[in-house]
């Protein structure tokens, strides 16, 4: 059933019990798609608010530290929902999506977005409490702008997977 050119590992994933179940169940697949969209909204929506606060666009009455601290648990919740549902969707369609250019681009963008998060939190973000109401350091504003661009690109590229 899978393309003979598909690598053995991908074929094995694609033929696994979980993948076959998700693929063949009439209800599981669309339910997972719904969770995936909701997870993306929660994660990207809260990330955008934190990024825009760092850029000094909104919530100027609250410190960047407060906005980041209070919204981060929601971001993680959205991330977990997105990752689990997205992982199951990917496994189910791994045979046909393996060669999809937009999927590969999305995974690459996710990797870059993740590296951006790790670097930002390991460096500039550590001093966030000291920024106070003042303008965030240039490195923080660069990381926030990159984050907005990267997550926007992840959403756009992700939407195109379904069409190609």
């Amino acid at each position: 059933m899978t393309d003979p050119n598909t690598p053995a590992l991908i074929a094995a994933i694609s033929d696994s019990g979980l993948a076959t179940y998700v693929r063949e169940s009439e209800i599981t697949f669309p339910v997972l798609q719904t969770f995936h969209a909701l997870g993306i909204m929660l994660m990207v929506g809260t990330i955008a608010i934190v990024d825009l606060r760092i850029l000094g666009v909104l919530l100027k009455g609250q410190s960047a530290e407060e906005v980041g601290r209070t919204l981060l648990p929601l971001t993680w919740l959205g991330f977990a929902v997105m990752l689990l549902s997205g992982g199951a969707l990917l496994v189910a369609q791994s045979g046909q999506l393996y060669a999809n250019t937009f999927l590969r681009a999305k995974l690459a963008l996710l990797l870059v977005a993740g590296v951006n998060v790790v670097i930002f939190h390991a460096t500039t973000y550590r001093s966030i409490a000291a920024w106070g109401g003042a303008v965030a350091p240039a490195s923080a504003r660069f990381a926030a702008a990159s984050s907005l661009l990267l997550w926007t690109a992840v959403i756009v590229v992700g939407r195109y997977i379904a069409y190609y």
Binding site: T34, L38, L42, A48, G61, Q62, R159, Y160
Partner: protein, 159 residues
């Protein structure tokens, strides 16, 4: 009323953007992406404010300031979502007119908007704690309503 809706949808379908989007899959997917990005913004702003009113996030903060600080972002995201949504409808008006979930989605959307905006009169002026308490049921209902809008909206494309 039904005739009015039908002729409005027909006009959308015959409009230049409607004809263009109906013929171009990449352009349609691009508008869907914008719709999803707008939704993420609306969802983020709604969740942040409603949960702040409910005392889950921004604890101890001045709710009035939080509401004001998020309102512009909410409006921009809403305009993005509604505009892209109208464009998506214009690409295939019949499909949406006949979709059993499209009407319910618009109804729940109207309810969600009303509930979310009803929170503000209670808290936009520096508000005594009692007024924030008063806004809490609206915040809870708003969360449920927006969640339903997103879920029903996703299923429009699935049924």
């Amino acid at each position: 009323m039904a005739d009015l809706v039908t002729s409005l949808f027909d006009a959308l379908g015959r409009s230049p953007p409607g004809l263009f989007l109906a013929a171009s899959t990449p352009a349609f997917a691009a508008v869907q992406s914008i719709h999803l990005i707008g939704l993420a913004g609306v969802g983020g702003a709604v969740v942040a404010l409603d949960l702040a009113v409910l005392g889950v996030v921004f604890r101890g903060a001045d709710i009035t300031r939080v509401a004001r600080g998020l309102f512009g972002f909410f409006l921009v995201a809403l305009v993005l979502t509604v505009t892209s949504g109208l464009l998506l409808v214009s690409a295939g008006p019949q499909k949406y007119l006949l979709n059993a979930l499209f009407g319910p989605k618009l109804l729940v959307l109207a309810l969600a908007l009303a509930l979310h905006l009803l929170i503000y009169p209670g808290i936009v002026r520096p508000a005594p704690a009692a007024r924030v308490e008063l806004a809490r049921p609206f915040a809870a209902a708003s969360l449920v309503a927006w969640f339903s809008v997103a879920v029903i909206g996703r299923w429009i494309g699935l049924i």
